[in-house]
Amino acid sequence: MSDGGRGTQRAATRAGLDVAGLRGEFPIFAAMGPRFHYLDNAATGQICRAAAETLVDFETRARANVKRGVYRLADEATRAFEEARARIAGYLGAREAREVVITSGTTHALNLAAHTLCARLHPGDEILLTCAEHHSNIVPWQLAGRRAGAVIRAVPLAEDGRLDLDRLEALVSRRTKVVAATHCSNVTGALTDIGRLAEAARAVGAVLVVDGAQRAPHGPLDVQALGCDLYAFSGHKVFAATGAGALWIRGELADELPPFMGGGEMIRRVTLEASTFAPPPHRFEAGTPPIGPALALGAAVAWLAGLDWPAIHAHEQRLLERLLEGLRTIRGLRLLGPADTRARAPLVSFLVEGVHPHDVCQLLDAFGVCTRGGHHCAQPLHEALGAEASVRASIALYNDDADIDALLAGLEEVVRRLA
């Protein structure tokens, strides 16, 4: 089996960032040609060569189920799967690989979290969310809350479009059993002060669940330093394949939690009357996992972990500044959320006065610019920001000045034709 996680580090050297080299590690750019300006990275990132090669190699040359067969091919698949888990654990800064559960993505991971934590909830308990959540970090808690009789509360926005964490004291009490928050808004790009949430949760013995889908593509993490208890992210947003993601669960907590789904591979013993369950992470991985996508995820994060992240952050921030500066010059454009670059990921949502976001995105497509229009599965946040929907441009490590300039030129044309 090829090892896509090694041998492809030439793109970002310690001497500085070679963006053209980085783009060369993503096959789509050669396939699409120069008039392709992909700025929908918050929805999905493009797949890197390391992940694509690993996926194809597994599915065409090394495919077997994991955790079962004793023949060589199956044994190698199991070994590769567990190695991918270890690489994901490394990217997250987890203490042990067994703390990482392979899921189909962030939505699966957060549903798993809500379902298993629901067993600890009682009527009258409270689940604290924030109004900046993606629907996948709202709806699972509503379902869990309904099952347990627990109440949902939410941290509101402050004037500047960031979360008003000064309200935490009033919102967190002994009734609070779960705090679930995004690490980075998928609409405004604002980063959440997870440390502050962790402190508040810890003070009342609540569990802190973090949706890391938008933060994970921007460099390796340290979940232990963050102070959370569970952390979810998706493979397809970190330049791997669709179909795999991960949920990190702090080891001691994972040991206490009941299974989510039942089936093969998550048991110790099954009788017709009852079952006992495997220890984590297998307890939470019923059935055949997404093996190929998980291996691709392992390859992607191993490749990412070797890049020069200070240089990439500087590059992403420079593009964000160029974008924000350009947007400010466009007539009738309104930014949603914070207007500065402090503590935010490189993504921006905005409205063009008098033009529907879908119409903006459709016309931008004519310029080869890929952006997202809609509520981005964050209707409560849009409501708090006073909008129904917005246009979102989201930057990844492979974007360059030409992408930003094409977007700005396209927006000028949108205003000229439709505003």
């Binding site: 529907h356 976001p357 879908h358 119409d359 016309l363 497509d365 849009h382 129904e388 439709l418």
Partner: protein, 145 residues
């Protein structure tokens, strides 16, 4: 392909929705949302002698949704339910590229949308509302003189 959607007929027709208003005492009212973007139409119908006597609506949406709502508001008065179901089917045929001409000639303005699958729902939103409204109208209201 994307730019072709925004030809003059669609842009001009969409402007008509700015003047649209709800009916004061409709026989039936439905709300229809586009779950992708939160666009919404509230549609009112009033019946007389088995036909739609008046239509009112409030539409919040993109140019395609608003143009479709404007065509609907223009054409629906005077129609029987059977005419309207035929018109809805003809619009779906147009978007799916099936043979036949649309019941109302101006629906042809949406032909360029055929190539952009993700925007079909934008055009169909007002017609989905109409379909639900027709299905939920009380029989007594439809028969009233």
């Amino acid at each position: 392909m994307s730019a072709e959607l925004y030809h003059r007929a669609i842009v001009e027709t969409a402007k008509e929705t700015a003047e649209a208003a709800r009916l004061p005492a409709p026989d039936v009212t439905v709300e229809e949302d586009n779950p992708l973007c939160g666009d919404r139409i509230v549609l009112d119908l009033l019946f007389r002698d088995g036909r739609v006597a008046a239509v009112g609506h409030k539409t919040r949406g993109c140019l395609l949704t608003r143009a479709a709502a404007a065509v609907l508001a223009r054409r629906v008065p005077g129609c029987a339910a059977s005419d309207l179901f035929r018109a809805i089917a003809s619009l779906q045929d147009l978007l799916e590229g099936r043979d036949g001409s649309p019941s109302w000639p101006e629906l042809a303005m949406f032909a360029p949308v055929r190539a952009v699958k993700s925007r079909h729902e934008c055009v169909l939103l007002p017609f989905r509302a109409l379909e639900r409204a027709l299905a939920s109208v009380p029989p007594a209201a439809e028969r009233k003189p």
